[in-house]
């Protein structure tokens, strides 16, 4: 295996072309001897992307995704680190399970897999999981989330927020007031009325975020809000941030692009939780991401087996794969604002997750975690062409800009010429 590379003529964050030199896992200031040349003419170099919200499905649903296949999909999408959500089977609510996921990630070696631990035992929302044990484990868990379920009990949420202060932890909340979303199938509005699908009202998200920012403020803890989906949530976050609450928030690529009108096909490939919202919400989310009220883009990559999607809408599992299309979608939404993209998809998520070797500037001395993007390429999304084990992309047939040409993890290519290297 070569360990020295010259990446020739890459445009770092859109600046004038320059050569990048990689040796022994780090960026260096001059061409190493015996370096392999990677032509990067016309390509933009970004720090390797970091996903704060990935469902890798292992253990439990290896038919939909494994740590390895999900890691490969991530690398193909330009990622060098992903945070693996805890709603596996068994749930990642013990040191044993998070260490298992962490080890599988190391063995795959395609991205850094940082496990997220469950907040409550079995995601049941009743009793705190052993957060400290997960923090002290080899996986060094810092983010805790019951994602898929909301930590709805206000007292439990308060305790969780307080408890993780001991190890600078953060609670990532899936904001969904469960009583307001019983049986919910899609965004509550004109389209849900027309389709006869039970509505998921925006207020069910906004009410939890409002409560949680107040709790976080009260106990002085860090709160992260997963997949913000409504214009009203943006306003709650804006006010909280203005008061100095330690809250960060993410938006998914699909909530930046797609609307609830897509449910009219009843094709569950468009079923996701939180649901696709209205054009007005999409507009507010885009503005909030640019403004920084929403800090980052996170994929909520949620692979599902064919039988869980090829069925009636109400019976389908919610979720969409997203790792391989995230950057193209964000590029289509933000345009070639490379520094902004690097901030929202690499620097800030790395900082929130405490991943100190990711999201760094591409300069000598730093770990060579980077991705090369061809901004001029256009690609029609073909589900069968995805690297993920699952096919549930909502973008089938959509033309998206940008192609990930290469990804380097600690100086070794995980993707070259658009092909996974292992």
């Amino acid at each position: 295996m070569t360990s020295s590379y010259v990446i020739r003529g890459a445009s770092i964050l859109g600046a004038s072309p320059a050569d990048l030199f990689v040796s022994d896992g780090v960026l260096v200031d001059s061409a190493p001897s015996n370096a392999e040349v990677v032509e990067a003419d016309g390509l933009v170099a970004l720090p390797g992307l970091v996903d704060l919200h990935t469902h890798l499905r292992e253990p439990g649903r290896e038919d939909a995704e494994t740590v390895e296949t999900g890691s490969r999909a991530a690398a193909m999408g330009g990622y060098t680190a992903v945070c693996a959500m805890a709603n596996t089977s068994p749930v990642a609510d013990t040191a044993g399970v998070v260490e298992q996921v962490w080890r599988l990630g190391r063995e795959a070696g395609l991205v850094d897999v940082q496990p997220i631990g469950a907040v409550t035992v079995g995601l049941a929302g009743k009793q705190l999981a052993e957060l400290g044990a997960m923090a002290a484990s080899a996986a060094s868990v810092r983010i805790f989330s019951d994602d898929g379920s909301c930590v709805a009990d206000p007292r439990l949420m308060r305790r969780a927020l307080e408890y993780v202060k001991a190890f600078d932890g953060i609670i990532a909340q899936h904001a969904e007031e469960p009583r307001l979303t019983e049986g919910a199938q899609m965004h509550e509005g004109e389209v849900s009325t027309r389709l006869g699908l039970t509505g998921w009202p925006a207020v069910a998200e906004e009410a939890i975020i409002a409560r949680d920012v107040l709790l976080a403020e009260h106990v002085g803890s860090r709160l992260h809000v997963c997949h913000v989906s409504t214009a009203g949530s943006v306003e709650v976050l804006r006010q909280a941030k203005a008061r100095g609450v330690r809250v960060t928030a993410e938006v998914t690529p699909h909530h930046l692009l797609l609307t609830d009108e897509l449910a009219a096909s009843y094709d569950p490939v468009f079923k996701v939780n939180p649901p696709l919202r209205t054009a007005k919400d999409v507009e507010a989310l885009r503005a909030a991401l640019i403004e920084g009220v929403i800090d980052i883009v996170a994929t909520d990559h949620a692979p599902h087996a064919v039988e869980d999607k090829e069925c009636e809408w109400a019976y389908a599992r919610p979720g969409m794969v997203g790792l391989e299309t995230a950057l193209p979608v964000v590029l289509s939404v933000l345009g070639e604002q490379w520094d902004l993209i690097a901030d929202r998809m690499s620097r800030t998520p790395a900082r929130i997750a405490g991943l100190s070797s990711h999201g760094l500037s591409l300069r000598p001395g730093e770990p060579a975690n980077l991705t090369l993007v061809d901004p001029a390429a256009r690609r029609v999304v073909d589900p069968s062409g995805l690297t993920s084990k699952s096919r549930n992309t909502p973008y089938a047939g959509t033309t998206l800009p940008g192609r990930i040409v290469a990804t380097f993890l600690r100086g070794e290519p995980t993707v070259l010429d658009g092909k996974a290297q292992k």
């Binding site: 199938q185 004109e190 849900s192 009325t193 027309r194 389709l195 006869g196 069925c311 009636e312 109400a314």
Partner: protein, 301 residues
């Protein structure tokens, strides 16, 4: 002619009128001694019922048989359906059987839409979840037109649990297409957002101007979900009793898609009054469904 009938929105005014006119011809046929038409001889109509609805299934079965079609009943009980076979696999089976039309009743909204992407034959929605029940709307429109002579300009009040009613959704769409003015009446908890029609929370104020009052079935279980406090309070505010019926204009009719909760949304003396169309709705159901099968399967009017 359209291929599938998944939603009342699939019907423009001309198509809907053609179906109603054809239903009229079918009703005339029912008066004859020989009640069968050879039109669909050799064609296969499958009744695919994932919900118990003997009334609707029998209505479709009678309609198909009067058109001489072969009818296969595929019900959720005692078939592979209840063993968890997926809708797609069932669709492939029906496809292999050469079904020309599949009449589907399903508890999940949109199931007929899904089915239509997996079979070549026509799909007719016989009620899907809380979405639509377009043939019910057709038979209701047919009944109104028979009794009142027209649909254009009629004031129709649809009263009750609009939120969960597929009958209401299909009726709003079809009646609006045909020029009637629909007002939805019920407690605010049971009226959906943006319902596509006028809304009133006060039944008494709507009745004097109504040509048609359609009472929807209200399930008492809705109380548990706090949609309303009690059956008694519901009935007092939104039930159609004899006193309320007297507020209606002389010519106005009272409809109910059945099955009724007598004493809840409708008083027995109202259900059995001469204004009530409840019995003829059943007969009209067969005619309307004959018209739909006839036209969708390529019969010429």
């Amino acid at each position: 002619m359209i291929k599938h009938l998944l939603s009342a929105a699939d019907l423009d005014a001309d198509t809907a009128t053609l179906i109603l006119d054809t239903a009229g011809e079918m009703a005339a046929l029912a008066e004859r001694e020989v009640k069968k038409l050879p039109t669909l001889r050799g064609r296969t109509v499958v009744n695919l019922f994932y919900e118990d609805s003997t009334r609707t299934r029998i209505s479709f079965e009678a309609a198909a048989k009067r058109l001489s079609a072969d009818v296969i009943n595929f019900s959720a009980k005692g078939s592979s359906v209840s063993k968890g076979e997926s809708l797609k696999d069932t669709a492939l089976t029906l496809q292999a059987m050469g079904a020309d039309a599949v009449v589907i009743r399903h508890p999940a909204s949109g199931a007929p839409d899904r089915l239509s992407s997996w079979v070549d034959g026509s799909v007719i929605n016989a009620g899907d979840g809380t979405h639509e029940h377009p043939t019910q709307a057709l038979l209701d429109a047919y009944t109104m037109r028979s009794r009142l002579g027209k649909l254009d300009g009629l004031n129709v009040a649809i009263v009750g649990d609009v939120l969960h009613s597929r009958v209401a959704r299909s009726n709003v769409l079809l009646l609006t297409t045909l020029g009637a003015k629909v007002t939805l009446v019920g407690p605010p908890t049971l009226i959906p957002l943006s319902p596509g029609a006028a809304v009133s929370y006060d039944l008494d104020s709507v009745l004097p101007g109504a040509d048609v009052v359609m009472m929807l079935r209200v399930q008492t279980e809705r109380m548990q979900d706090s949609y309303f406090p009690s059956a008694r309070e519901y009935s007092r505010r939104y039930g159609l009793d004899a006193a309320r019926m007297r507020r209606l204009p002389e010519h106005a009719i009272v409809m109910h898609p059945g099955p009724m909760n007598r004493g809840m949304e409708i008083a027995p003396e109202v259900a059995d009054s001469k204004r009530s169309t409840i019995v003829e709705q059943v007969a009209n159901g067969v005619s309307a469904r004959m018209a739909v099968l006839y036209l969708l399967l390529g019969g010429k009017a």
